[in-house]
C-alpha cells in the first residue's frame, strides 16, 4: 500500500514538473537570450549567456523611449483605475439604496452590456471620437482614460453592487443621525468597508489596462511616440526584429518585468482577486 502511494505521489510530481517546464521555459529562454549578442542567439538559443552586460538594455530603452512609455502606462492605469474605483462605488451604492425603476434599469443595462465584446463597437468608437468629435487628435491620452472608465465601470458596479447589498443599512442611518450628509456617509462609512472589494476590482482592472493593446493602438497610434504606452512602444522593434534580437529581447524583458516584480510580492492577493472577480 505504501509503495502504491509513493508511486502515485511520484507520478503527480512528474506531471507537475513537466507542466512547470512548459509554463516557465519561455520566460527562462527569454531571460537568457536577452543578455546575448545576435551572433550568440542565432548560434544557439539555449546556451547560457557568456557575460552579463546591460549595455543592450540601455540601447533598447533609448530606442523604445522606455521611461516615457512606462510613465504613460502608469499614469493611464492609475488615473483610470482611481476614477473607476470611486465613481463606480458611488454609483453601485446609490443603486442599492435607491431602488427606483430608473436605477434598476440602468443597472441591468450595465450588466447586460458586459456581453458586448470590444471588437464589435471599436469601429463606431473610433469614428465618433476621431472623425466626428476630433478628441482622439486633440486629447489622445485623456480620451483613452475616459474610455477605460466607460469600459471598466460595468464590471466594477456589478461587483460592488453584490457586496453593498450585504452592508447593514443601520450603519448608514446611525451616521446620518449623527449629522453626516449623504456624501460624508459614503466617504466616511461606506467606502472604507468597500476596500477589500475595491482591491479585487483593482487587480482585475490593472491587469487589463496595463496590458491592453487594441484600444491604445486605435487611440494613440497617430499621436506620436511620446504618447505611447508600453505595449505600443515595443512595436518599434517589430519591423526589424528578425535580425535585431539583441535589442528586441531586452525590451520584451523590460516590458514584462514591472508586473512580474509586483506579482512576486502580491501573488496571493492577485490570485485571490482574480478568482473572486471572475466567479462573481
Amino acid at each position: 500500500m505504501q509503495m502504491v502511494n509513493a508511486l502515485k505521489k511520484g507520478s503527480i510530481y512528474i506531471v507537475l514538473l513537466l507542466a512547470l517546464l512548459f509554463f516557465l521555459v519561455p520566460f527562462l529562454i527569454l531571460l537568457f537570450n536577452a543578455f546575448k549578442t545576435n551572433a550568440e542567439i542565432i548560434a544557439s538559443p539555449f546556451s547560457l549567456p557568456v557575460s552579463i552586460s546591460f549595455k543592450n538594455f540601455g540601447l533598447a530603452m533609448d530606442q523604445m523611449k522606455y521611461w516615457s512609455a512606462f510613465s504613460n502606462s502608469a499614469m493611464i492605469t492609475f488615473i483610470s483605475l482611481t476614477v473607476i474605483l470611486i465613481c463606480s462605488a458611488m454609483t453601485a451604492h446609490y443603486f442599492v439604496r435607491n431602488k427606483t425603476r430608473m436605477n434598476t434599469m440602468w443597472f441591468l443595462m450595465m450588466v447586460a452590456s458586459m456581453i458586448i465584446p470590444f471588437q464589435s463597437i471599436m469601429i463606431p468608437l473610433v469614428s465618433i471620437y476621431g472623425a466626428e468629435l476630433g478628441w482622439i487628435q486633440s486629447q489622445p491620452k485623456l480620451t483613452l482614460m475616459f474610455m477605460y472608465v466607460g469600459f471598466g465601470s460595468s464590471l466594477a458596479v456589478f461587483v460592488y453592487h453584490g457586496f453593498i447589498k450585504s452592508i447593514p443599512l443601520e450603519l448608514e442611518e446611525a451616521a446620518q443621525i449623527d449629522g453626516c450628509n449623504s456624501i460624508q456617509t459614503f466617504f466616511k462609512i461606506v467606502l472604507p468597508i468597500l476596500m477589500p472589494t475595491a482591491v479585487t476590482i483593482g487587480i482585475l482592472h490593472v491587469l487589463w489596462i496595463w496590458n491592453d493593446y487594441l484600444l491604445p493602438v486605435l487611440i494613440l497610434q497617430n499621436a506620436g511616440s511620446d504618447n505611447y504606452t508600453l505595449p505600443l512602444a515595443i512595436q518599434v522593434f517589430r519591423g526589424s526584429y528578425s535580425s535585431d534580437y539583441e535589442r528586441y529581447l531586452p525590451a520584451v524583458v523590460m516590458v514584462v518585468l514591472p508586473i512580474m516584480v509586483v506579482y512576486l510580492f502580491a501573488q496571493r492577493f492577485i490570485i485571490q482577486g482574480v478568482t473572486q472577480g471572475s466567479v462573481k
Binding site: 507537475l16 507542466a19 512547470l20 509554463f23 516557465l24 519561455p26 520566460f27 529562454i29 527569454l30 537570450n33 542565432i42 544557439s44 538559443p45 539555449f46 465613481c87 463606480s88 458611488m90 454609483t91 446609490y94 450595465m110 452590456s113 456581453i115 458586448i116 465584446p117 470590444f118 471588437q119 464589435s120 463597437i121 471599436m122 469601429i123 463606431p124 468608437l125 469614428s127 465618433i128 475616459f146 472608465v149 466607460g150 469600459f151 465601470s153 460595468s154 449623504s182 491587469l207 496595463w210 496590458n211 493593446y213 487594441l214 486605435l218 505595449p231 515595443i234 534580437y245 520584451v252 514584462v256 508586473i259 512580474m260 501573488q267 490570485i271 482574480v274 478568482t275 471572475s278 466567479v279
Partner: protein, 294 residues
C-alpha cells in the same frame, strides 16, 4: 417648500453619485453600439464627408465576403480546440495542486504567471520560441516535428496559436477550478472512500458533477475570449503564413482600418457579436441544466 428643496437635493445626489459613471458608460458603450447599428446601413471610408445610405448592401457584402466566412470558420475551429484543451489542462492542474502535496502553492503561482502579461507580449515571446528555440532543438536532435518553424506552415501555425492560448489561459482557469474544488464537501468524499469507491470513480461521479458551476464560468470565459482573440493572433502569426491564420477579429480590424470599408467592417463586427452572444447564452443555458447539489 421643504419638498421642493428635497427634490432638488435628490436630483443633485442622483447626478453626483451616478452621473459620472453613467456619462462614461453611455458615451463609450451605448452610443457607439447604437451608432454602430446605424453605420451598417451606410458606405463610409472613415475620412470623407459623404456617407451615402446603402440599405442592406453592407449585409449582402458580408454574406458574399468569403474571406470573412473563412476567418469565422477558422475562429470556430480555434475556439473548439482551445476551449477543450484549456479546460482539460486547467482542471487537471487544479486537481493535482489541491491534493495537498508539498510545494503546491509554488506550482499554482508558476502556472498562473502567463496571465500577468498581455497577449501582445506573449505572442512576441512565443514567436521567438517557435522561430529560434524549437528549430534549434529540431536541428540538434533531428526531430522532424521541430525541423522547420511552425509559424511557416499553415496547419502548424494554427496549432501554434492554440498552444499559446492554452499556455495563456490554463493557469487562469486553474485558479477558478481550485476555488471550486475547495468547496466540494469533504465529508461525502470520505463517506465514499469508506464505502470502497476508488478515487477515479469519485472524480467522475462526484467531483465533476459538483464542479459544474466552475465549468460554467471557465467555458464561458474561454469561449468569449477565444472568439474575440486579436493580440496573440497579431503578435504571433500576424495572420500568416499567406493569410491562413486571420481570425475573425483581425479580419474585422483590417476591413475597417486597413481597407477603410467601415460599413461592411461594422456589419461583420455585429455578425460576430451575434454569433458569440448566441453561443455563450446557449452554453450557459445548457451547462446550468447540468448543475447538481451535494
Amino acid at each position: 417648500m421643504i419638498s421642493e428643496k428635497n427634490t432638488v437635493k435628490r436630483i443633485g445626489n442622483q447626478l453626483l453619485f451616478t452621473g459620472p459613471t453613467l456619462l462614461a458608460f453611455i458615451a463609450v458603450i451605448i452610443v457607439p453600439f447604437i451608432y454602430g447599428i446605424y453605420m451598417t446601413f451606410f458606405k463610409w471610408d472613415g475620412i470623407s464627408s459623404s456617407m451615402p445610405y446603402v440599405g442592406f448592401n453592407n449585409y449582402e457584402a458580408v454574406f458574399n465576403d468569403t474571406k470573412f466566412w473563412t476567418s469565422v470558420w477558422l475562429t470556430i475551429k480555434y475556439v473548439a480546440a482551445s476551449v477543450f484543451l484549456i479546460n482539460t489542462v486547467a482542471f487537471l492542474l487544479a486537481y493535482l495542486v489541491t491534493m495537498g502535496i508539498r510545494g503546491q502553492n509554488f506550482f499554482r503561482t508558476a502556472f498562473f504567471s502567463p496571465n500577468l502579461i498581455g497577449g501582445l507580449v506573449l505572442g512576441f515571446i512565443w514567436q521567438f520560441m517557435f522561430n529560434n528555440f524549437f528549430t534549434s532543438i529540431g536541428e540538434k536532435f533531428g526531430w522532424e516535428l521541430f525541423s522547420k518553424t511552425w509559424l511557416g506552415n499553415e496547419t502548424m501555425a494554427f496549432w501554434a496559436l492554440v498552444l499559446v492560448t492554452v499556455w495563456q489561459y490554463a493557469g487562469y482557469m486553474m485558479v477558478i477550478f481550485i476555488a471550486g474544488l475547495m468547496s466540494v464537501p469533504k465529508d461525502i468524499l470520505e463517506a465514499a472512500t469508506i464505502d470502497g469507491t476508488s478515487g477515479w470513480k469519485q472524480l467522475i461521479h462526484m467531483v465533476l458533477p459538483l464542479m459544474v458551476p466552475s465549468f460554467i464560468v471557465t467555458i464561458f470565459l474561454s469561449l468569449q475570449r477565444g472568439f474575440m482573440v486579436y493580440d496573440v493572433n497579431y503578435a504571433l502569426t500576424g495572420g500568416g503564413p499567406f493569410g491562413s491564420t486571420v481570425m475573425a477579429s483581425m479580419h474585422v480590424y483590417d476591413k475597417a482600418f486597413q481597407r477603410f470599408d467601415y460599413g461592411v467592417g461594422q456589419a461583420e463586427a455585429f455578425v460576430l457579436f451575434f454569433i458569440v452572444a448566441t453561443v455563450t447564452i446557449v452554453q450557459v443555458y445548457l451547462t446550468k441544466r447540468m448543475e447538481v447539489e451535494a
